[in-house]
């Protein structure tokens, strides 16, 4: 068990990071910490993908010094996926931060439970 984890230490770290982020996003009351959790969760996935795509001793797939064999290079697709994922994660974070600002301006707190209570008091129900 332990040997397996040590042999796949990057994957193990990625899964632990994912777990930490997921739990924070789900259970934390503070909006900003929730967002940090989301970013940790995404980083976990990117680490997983990047470590899967990297092979020790090989180089980025850019032809240099006339080396033509495929075995000299790594697969570029995982790196591409990580980049796309980072772009998505940044835009989602931006939207969530703007929502947090709007909530903070209205309810003057970032605690979601507190916001929920305060919204109950302001009768906006039609």
């Amino acid at each position: 068990m332990i040997e397996h984890l040590l042999a796949n230490n990057e994957e193990a770290a990625a899964v632990i990071l994912f777990g930490i982020g997921f739990t924070m996003l789900l259970f934390h009351k503070n909006l900003i910490k929730k967002l940090i959790g989301m970013n940790i969760m995404d980083s976990g996935i990117f680490l997983f993908l990047a470590s899967m795509g990297y092979i020790e001793g090989r180089r980025a797939p850019i032809l240099t010094e006339g080396v033509q064999e495929v075995s000299a290079y790594i697969n570029p697709v995982p790196a591409g996926l990580v980049l796309t994922g980072i772009v998505v994660s940044v835009s989602v974070t931006a939207v969530m931060l703007s929502l947090s600002i709007r909530l903070y301006k209205r309810y003057h707190t970032l605690d979601l439970d507190e916001i929920y209570l305060r919204s109950r008091h302001q009768m906006e129900d039609r």
Partner: protein, 495 residues
């Protein structure tokens, strides 16, 4: 290659570029542009659908001259064609049936942004329907999440912002899980295009040691997408989200966005995992149990609510339960019943969400039941449309809801075994509960009240979308056999 095969990609690209274009236009012009583009897209997809029916087979559209297993692909078959057509129709009806509320609920200087979001959302919906590549699916799932959050928060109430935050948090959890599942499948298969993935997975599934990992990956994807589509027990965000959004948004979110996720999930089951491998996994029975749980929980909460939109939202939770129950039952009958119900629910729920604010309009702007008394008499058009949609939800024959319930029953009989009795019980109990809360509402809106002023008939901007949705409803009810045959051919072509 025939020109008509370009339509899906063309529609996606035009919609993507229309977003920024609407950003530059003014509110009225953006609305007119959206109107024309939607009609144009509907015409295009009708032509595409006729073409697919004529050839009788699906086609793949290779982008950038890189054939599989490289490059990116779009696939168009009967299922994608029929869903795209229906989605565009419902989108059109929702945007136009709700456009007067959009102008009321949103600041005038921001109306054009709403239409920009609608275009981006159209692009995302179409891409999710047509893509043949799992990662492209993920990217557009995120775009759909962002745009749906956008059309939710355009109404600047505290409650909608709060609802949007909760909606986004759950959606982000779902997206994270979905991405993890996709990455796991990618590391196992080395592909992202669906067809080569399926080949590798078929080989892998012969090895008993690979099955647990495969099941875990599929399970993670299932949990992710079911959180996003609002399967029990993740349905609690629905009432706030649908209840306080502007009517067009509520209609689009409940009838299209959640359905797109379910369609993607079904596509993954059929085209990535393969039905034969999927049916060996224990995921189906979990979906069946959660589906039944959703039906009962949604219906009970709907009965307990005193706010008509919250009731309709909880009823959505129950209907999502039906769809997952169909997927859980499995077999051709179960899957076709689930897909048929996606269509039925899209048509019916959008009509309900567009009608309730009209009833509220003649009741002092309140959506609470006690204020709505007699509103069907004061606004006769809205009363009639609400009654038709509600009766369809309850399952009165000739309306679409009846056909889909019948099909779930037949699918349960087909599946037999342990599933038969719980499914039949769930169908019976939920039909009874549905009847209870919808017929109670119908009686309430037609009970005489001291307010007797009757508003004149609505203009064509409301009547045409509503008549279109009612026509779709009747069509699905009367020609359910033909539609089901079509869906079954589509599933067969799916893999």
């Amino acid at each position: 290659m025939e020109f008509i095969r370009n339509i899906p990609l063309f529609a996606i690209i035009v919609s993507l570029f229309s977003g920024p274009l609407c950003f530059l236009l003014e509110g009225k012009a953006a609305k007119r542009y959206t109107f024309c583009l939607e009609l144009f897209l509907i015409a295009g997809f009708t032509a595409l659908f006729v073409y697919i029916l004529k050839t009788g087979e699906a086609f793949t559209y290779v982008m950038g001259e890189f054939p599989a297993p490289w490059g990116n692909e779009i696939r168009a078959g009967i299922l994608e064609g029929v869903m795209a057509l229906l989605f565009l129709l419902v989108l059109f009806c929702s945007v136009y049936g709700g456009s007067s509320f959009v102008e009321q609920d949103i600041d005038e200087s921001k109306v054009h942004l709403y239409y920009a979001l609608i275009h981006l959302m159209t692009a995302a919906l179409l891409s999710i329907l047509f893509t043949n590549d799992l990662f492209t699916g993920y990217v557009f799932v995120e775009i759909l999440t962002l745009t749906s959050c956008g059309i939710l928060i355009v109404r600047e109430l505290g409650r909608t912002t709060l609802a949007a935050v909760r909606y986004m948090i759950l959606n982000l959890l779902g997206s994270g899980l979905f991405l993890l599942g996709v990455v796991l499948l990618y590391t196992m298969t080395g592909h992202l295009l669906m067809v080569p993935m399926q080949q590798v997975i078929l080989e892998l599934s012969a090895d008993p040691a690979a099955m647990p990992t495969l099941t875990m990956a599929v399970g993670i994807i299932t949990i992710g997408l079911s959180i996003k589509s609002g399967l029990f027990p993740f349905h609690f965000w629905m009432p706030d989200t649908y209840g306080y959004a502007t009517p067009a948004s509520a209609s689009i979110l409940s009838s299209l966005v959640s359905k797109a996720y379910i369609f993607l999930l079904f596509k993954i089951y059929c085209r990535v995992i393969g039905i034969s491998v999927f049916e060996r996994m224990p995921i189906r029975s979990i979906l069946l149990v959660l589906g039944i749980g959703g039906i009962i929980a949604g219906s009970v909460s709907a009965i307990r609510s005193d706010h008509i939109n919250r009731m309709t939202a909880f009823s959505s939770a129950a209907q999502i339960g039906y769809i997952y129950m169909g997927l859980g039952l499995g077999g051709m009958a179960g899957y076709s019943a689930a897909l048929f119900h996606i269509m039925v629910h899209a048509v019916t729920k959008s009509q309900l969400f567009l009608t309730t604010p009209r009833l509220a309009e003649v009741s002092g702007g309140s959506l609470l039941f006690k204020e709505l008394q007699g509103s069907g008499r004061r606004d006769r058009d809205a009363g009639v449309f609400f009654t038709i949609a509600a009766l369809s939800m309850v399952g009165i024959p000739i309306l679409a809801g009846f056909s889909s319930k019948l099909q779930f029953g037949l699918a349960a009989v087909n599946a037999g075994g342990k599933a038969l009795i719980p499914v039949m019980l769930a169908l019976a109990v939920s039909s009874m509960l549905n009847a209870l809360y919808f017929i109670r509402t119908i009686i309430r809106i037609y009970t005489a009240d001291e307010r007797t002023e009757v508003r004149p008939h609505h203009g064509p901007d409301y009547l045409i979308p509503m008549l279109l949705l009612t026509a779709c409803n009747l069509f699905l009810g009367l020609f359910s056999r033909g539609v089901t045959e079509l869906i079954r051919t589509g599933i067969f072509l799916f893999g």
